[in-house]
């Protein structure tokens, strides 16, 4: 029995129950989500001042029709073949040795009727208004994948590390500043070897 005059003690035995109740509430409402996706830059709306003449052989045209079928370089291809085709186009290095466009790190077929140099090669993606979004993302994913595969190859050769890993470390806010400077240079070097020249033209209506 409590002493007379002293306040009675509050029973704290149910504290755990109350805490459990709150805990369960927060457990149920929590969504720990980190969003991820494909990063793209849209072209600015002002047309470039000077018309740049691009050789047809330096353009790799990908068209998706409304049924989700794929035309790449004027032939019908399966989506699963797209990455391979895009890689062989980008990595072709068709300019002959000695010319300024010569690509000394390319391992492609050096076919003179395909792209001259990875920095000249452009992938153009066109789609119909009826194209399903899922197909479009798959195609985008494959093209980004083609670039990443080639960049990884060069990064492994030069720095013994994957490009995607270096880029992720560079973009991670937890990476130390001193490491970032080093990574920035390496990432930029690799990006210059295979720049993403990837144009998304206006949607066609037919």
């Amino acid at each position: 029995m409590p002493k007379r005059g002293a306040p009675p003690e509050v029973n704290a035995g149910s504290m755990a129950d109350i805490a459990f109740l709150l805990l369960i509430f927060f457990l149920v409402t929590t969504t720990i989500e980190t969003d991820a996706g494909l990063d793209r830059m849209l072209p600015p709306i002002e047309p470039p001042e000077t018309d740049v003449v691009i050789k047809q052989k330096n353009i790799f045209e990908v068209i998706i029709n409304k049924n989700g079928q794929l035309f790449a370089d004027e032939e019908l291809v399966e989506v699963s073949q797209l990455r391979e085709k895009a890689m062989s186009f980008l990595d072709n290095g068709g300019a002959p040795s000695g010319t300024p466009d010569y690509c000394n790190y390319c391992q492609g077929a050096r076919n003179t009727s395909s792209s001259d140099n990875p920095s000249k090669a452009i992938i153009s993606l066109k789609n119909d208004r009826e194209t399903p979004y899922g197909t479009y993302i798959t195609v985008q994913n494959e093209i980004v994948g083609a670039y990443n595969d080639l960049r990884n190859r060069e990064a492994q050769r030069l720095y013994k590390r994957d490009f995607t890993a270096m880029e992720a470390a560079y973009l991670n806010p937890e990476t130390a500043e001193s490491l970032k400077d080093d990574l920035k240079e390496k990432v930029k070097n690799i990006q210059d070897l295979f720049p993403q020249k990837f144009s998304e033209a206006e949607t066609s209506n037919n």
Binding site: A12, M15, A16, A19, F20, L22, L23, F26, L27, T29, T30, T31, I32, E33, T34, D35, A36, G37, L38, D39, R40, M41, L42, P43, P44, I45, G68, V79, S80, N127, D128, R129, E130, T131, P132, Y133, G134, T135, Y136, I137, T138, Q140, N141, E142, V144, G145, N148, E167, A168, L171, N172, P173, E200, E202, T203
Partner: protein
């Protein structure tokens, strides 16, 4: 008779539960701090497509979200089943996207206004037409950095 009374054999001492509230509170604080309350409820179907060459979206304060997809069951009577755009909490037309981006941009601190990313959360069954309209509007207001938000997974699953 021994001086020290022997403990009774075969009886385990009870485990003290006095620290249980502390443990539970620790968990509680963890979940309280990591919880993010949803700021807008989805009125459209939003099953994102899969992709595997993805980058994480760091820094949530620099992102503007645009949702698109067919309206969910309860809104289908009013809005039909065609793909719609959702900005904040309401349905919108493609022409409203520009104003929305500008007003969201104005809400952000000055130093972030040039580095904003627009995250497009679009249902995988949507048509590209609406995406093209959004992209055109984004280009008009010079919001050129976009992120097609996807789930991490095999991209070929989208085709089925």
């Amino acid at each position: 008779m021994s001086k020290f009374s022997k403990k009774k054999d075969g009886e385990l001492p009870a485990v003290s539960t006095a620290s249980l509230p502390d443990i539970v509170f620790m968990l509680l604080f963890f979940f309280m701090t990591v919880t993010v309350m949803k700021d807008s409820s989805l009125k459209v179907d939003n099953i994102l497509p899969n992709a595997n060459e993805i980058k994480k979206l760091e820094k949530k304060d620099r992102i503007i979200y645009i949702y698109a997809g067919a309206p969910t069951q309860e809104y289908q009577k009013v809005f039909g089943t065609e793909t719609k755009i959702q900005l904040n909490d309401k349905f919108a037309n493609a022409t409203d996207v520009g104003d929305y981006i500008l007003s969201e941009r104005a809400k952000k601190p000055q130093e972030l206004q040039n580095v904003l990313t627009t995250a497009l959360k679009v249902d995988k069954n949507a048509n590209m037409g609406i995406i093209s309209d959004i992209k055109l509007e984004l280009r008009k207001v010079n919001a050129l950095k976009v992120n097609y938000t996807t789930y991490d997974g095999d991209a070929f699953r989208n085709l089925q």
